[in-house]
């Protein structure tokens, strides 16, 4: 039996999957290191004892509760760095594809592959690592590990006992939390890499299952169980629908070519994209399967009508987790959506995708609904959740413009660049906002606007950072939130303006002749103006309301450093060379996606 698999022996395997390998190594380390101890095994019949180092009395150095956090942060930093290497090395070198039979190849000239590591997947893996890194950093202060924790003294009062037990509990669950975070990272990376729908689903489920647990992680808090239950049930139902959609597509792809080759591969001569393109009229089986497929992704990006669980999940869980839901999980949903919508069912130039009306309508409803709901809430976490819904609407509008088929190739590129860039910078300012909510959460409650009252006096630097994050979310120039929105609007407008009759004399004539996709841009602009109210309200309560508590914010050094980092990134990603680098990266990703 020849065990020499062509895949495992290939030098490109490790090279192309460095981030994933890093995460797997990190997971192994997280399992092994805290369990190292002085256990020995006695060789039977003798007195010799061989140390096996797993179990027994754990070593003091390795059982330190700080270690899991350090391991997971290092792993994520390495994973992010190795993902970013793609952009340093250049496109040709780093595009690697792996097919189902284990063949691995650089440059992806063949087309029947299931994993594809290119600029598109790598920019998303970088986003995931960065967002998870910020969540982890916040959790290090939210759920602090104390080296000097002691068992409660039996004579101490009940509250002291409870606190001591809580500290011990926090120490004990460090490993669990960081392990789960790394599983999320692995699952998300698989989603970004896969060009096979089933593999994509496996990645999605791996990430989702870990996220469900993480949402419920602070189980001593009354709301986390409820948040997790709602999020879990909605998420599971939608992923079951997704899987059913996949199975329909599987049947369809088989029956479309006389059952010869049922496949869930997107690419390849007999992949779904090819079958889709060969379809002359829209077949109901394909349409139903496709629609069901989108349900799960729609849930991940919290688009209407799958948004109901999002506000509950955000406001019930701890703020670091909410930040991960709002950035990493959302980026994962869009990575999958882009792969499916653009690669598989993207329209030919000049023809309109069948999903265009649905998506266009959904995008308008999503952004409007999100903004209106955000206006009427008094809970900052819910507010951010609704703003996340609204942002999903903006990005769906970009996808709709892409589906209109009006856009030229370069405009399509701009639209995808805008989406990717938005998800990229979202990880800076949305995470930043949640980091600050984490700080208010450590001492009390972050689920009411009152926790932000008078923050400007209590902690000016943090308050100013929060205000900048809010302005970036609102898309005020020249912060980075503006640039992404602007690129979306630009893409929509340059796609649709050509459709109006040029000869129209008056503005009204022109407006009535233009393709309706144009109105998506108008609705985006109006919604942005609307959203200013609730973002500025945060500034108003921070600077002008009297504080309800005189307690200063906790020290939380890790969070402070990360907030400042996010602040700097938010500012410089809107203007200047750094922003250009990011846009270039996003453009490269867009080109790679469109080339598949």
């Amino acid at each position: 039996m020849n065990i020499e698999s062509p895949l495992l022996a290939h030098p490109l395997l490790v090279e192309s999957l460095r981030p994933e390998m890093t995460i797997i190594v990190g997971i192994l380390l997280l399992i092994i290191v805290p369990n190292l101890g002085n256990a020995t095994v006695r060789i039977p019949m003798t007195q010799f004892r061989i140390p096996v180092f797993l179990g027994g009395e754990r070593f003091r150095a390795t059982s330190d509760p700080l270690i899991p956090g350090v391991i997971s942060m290092f792993t994520l930093i390495l994973a992010m760095a190795s993902s970013l290497m793609t952009f340093v090395e250049g496109a040709a070198l780093s595009t690697v594809c792996i097919s189902a039979n284990g063949a691995i190849q650089q440059g992806c000239t063949g087309s029947d592959y299931i994993l594809r590591s290119d600029a598109f997947s790598r920019i998303f893996t970088s986003i995931f690592s960065f967002a998870l890194l910020i969540g982890t950093a916040a959790m290090i202060n939210r759920m602090p590990a104390r080296v000097d924790a002691k068992a409660p003294h039996p004579d101490s009062s009940d509250s002291l006992k409870a606190r001591a037990i809580h500290i011990l509990l926090n120490n004990r669950r460090q490993g669990d939390f960081h392990l789960l975070i790394l599983f999320v990272a692995l699952g998300m990376n698989i989603v970004a890499l896969s060009t096979n729908l089933f593999l994509l689903f496996v990645g999605l489920e791996l990430a989702s299952l870990a996220i469900y647990v993480l949402v419920a992680f602070m189980k001593e808090e009354t709301t986390s169980g409820e948040a997790a239950t709602k999020y879990f049930l909605t998420g599971s139902v939608s992923s079951a629908v997704t899987l059913y959609g996949m199975s329909l597509l599987y049947i369809w792809s088989g029956s479309a070519s006389d059952y010869a080759s049922a496949t869930l591969n997107l690419t390849g001569p007999q992949g779904l994209a090819a079958t889709w393109a060969a379809m002359e009229t829209l077949e109901p089986l394909a349409a139903i399967g496709f629609g069901m497929l989108l349900v799960g992704f729609g849930f991940k990006v919290s688009a209407v009508p799958f948004h109901f669980a999002a506000p509950d999940a955000y406001s019930g869980t701890s703020s670091p987790m909410a930040s991960i839901l709002a950035t990493a999980s959302k980026a994962m949903g869009f990575a999958a959506l882009l792969r499916v919508l653009v690669v598989m069912a993207g329209p030919e130039l000049g023809s309109q995708a069948f999903w265009l009306p649905v998506l266009g309508l959904l995008s308008v409803v999503t952004m409007t609904w999100g903004n209106l709901a955000a206006l009427s809430t008094e809970n900052p976490k819910r507010m951010l959740a609704y703003s996340s819904v609204a942002h999903a609407g903006y990005l769906l509008a970009a996808l709709a413009a892409l589906g209109s088929g009006l856009a030229s190739e370069s405009t399509n590129e701009v639209l995808i660049t805008a989406i990717v860039f938005h998800l990229l910078v979202l990880a800076f300012f949305k995470s930043g906002a949640f980091l600050i909510l984490t700080m208010t959460e450590i001492r009390g409650d972050s689920s009411s606007m009152e926790s932000l009252y008078g923050l400007g006096r209590r902690d000016p630097i943090i308050a100013v950072s929060m205000f900048v994050f809010m302005l970036a979310l609102a898309g005020v120039p020249p912060l980075s939130g503006f640039l992404s929105k602007f690129l979306v609007i630009d893409g929509i407008i340059s796609a649709s303006t050509g459709s109006g009759s040029i000869s129209a004399a008056g503005a009204m004539d022109w407006l009535s002749s233009v393709h309706w996709v144009f109105w998506l841009a108008v609705s985006m602009a109006l919604n942005s103006a609307l959203s200013l109210f609730y973002y500025l309200r945060v500034g108003q309560v921070m600077f002008f309301e009297k504080s309800k508590s005189i307690l200063p914010l906790p020290d939380a050094p890790m969070i402070r450093i990360t907030v400042i980092l996010c602040l700097i990134l938010t500012v410089i990603s809107g203007l200047g060379p750094f922003s250009q680098t990011l846009v270039d990266m996003a453009t490269m990703a867009a080109q790679h996606l469109l080339k598949v």
């Binding site: 709301t223 169980g225 239950t229 879990f232 049947i251 088989g254």
Partner: protein, 100 residues
Amino acid sequence: MIDPGYISGLSAILFFIGLAGAFTRKHAIIVLMCIEIMLNAVNLNFVAVAMQTGDPEGWVFISIAIAIAASEVAVGLAIFLSLYSTRETINLDEVDLLKH
């Protein structure tokens, strides 16, 4: 040999029963069971294709899907237990702290 179309039909019926149950029932564990019914329906679809094409790829999908379903149940029940430990109920209508 029976027609794979029949199996797909059965699958569709099961799926929609599961879906309807997931939306109407308020007991968390029953909702979970409805999700299991939906996943089973998916398996039937895959097996129908595998039967038609003779390609074992569908079987691979099924075994993975079963594994995912099993872990989903485990995770779900763990979450329900954590909900129960703070709220003494897992009826979805009674869990409404976050609705404000």
